[in-house]
Amino acid sequence: MKEERIIQKLASIAQKETPPQVDVADRVMAILRARGEGRRTLVDPIAWVAAASAAVAIPVVLAAFSVGGSWSDTLMAALADLVGWML
């Protein structure tokens, strides 16, 4: 189907696009705090929000975690890829 080839070709080119960078940290933090979040989970909202900003914030996130165990290790490793993927 010719149309499928067009879509496939456009898609293969489009995959190389770099999405715009966004920083939603302040907004997310404001929303979570307005809703009274942060008391019910082990993850500090500031640490969570810091992961939503530029990659430079990642070391801050890692230092903020004090919970041990495989779950937090998984989370920390995942957060290292979080920003780039989410964009």
Partner: protein
């Protein structure tokens, strides 16, 4: 990923925000059975899909008029700018219902397998295949309709 759901910078930012807020509020439901990025990807897919459904309801979509479809290159050049290709593809797929659009976006633009698409959408793999096939057929009919209009 959220850039696939909206190419408007303000809306894109809203969607990214929504994903992080929803994910944070759902953290207690994360069971570590699936890798964390997979869990987050499902939330992102859901947020994006709901955005498209809302858009459709509000009919706030800038689509490509049928008379402009002849501008879609039959053989997109390798030198085409990625942003240009992405924008054109985005506007083409906007013609489709959200479910069809999601299937093609995940399978073609995000280049996910049937299995991965099923995980992201919550559909069965057989449903992904059927949905993708139906979406391609709808797009083909839209192209044919555009050619008929152009031929008049």
């Amino acid at each position: 990923m959220m850039w696939r759901f909206s190419r408007d910078p303000d809306t894109h930012e809203d969607l990214v925000q929504d994903v992080f807020v929803e994910a944070y509020q759902s953290l207690s439901s994360y069971r570590s059975k699936a890798p964390f990025p997979h869990w987050l990807a499902r939330i992102a897919t859901r947020v994006g899909y709901h955005h498209w459904k809302r858009q459709k309801r509000e009919r706030a979509i800038q689509t490509i008029p049928l008379e402009e479809w002849h501008e879609v290159p039959e053989e997109p050049a390798d030198g085409m700018e990625p942003a240009e290709a992405a924008e054109l593809l985005h506007r083409l797929l906007e013609q489709l219902p959200p479910r069809d659009r999601l299937a093609l976006t995940l399978r073609y633009i995000e280049d996910h397998s049937v299995q991965k698409t099923a995980e992201l959408t919550g559909w069965k793999p057989s449903m992904v295949k059927v949905q993708t096939w139906r979406a391609r057929n709808k797009l083909r009919r839209l192209f044919e309709k555009a050619r008929e209009e152009e031929a008049r």
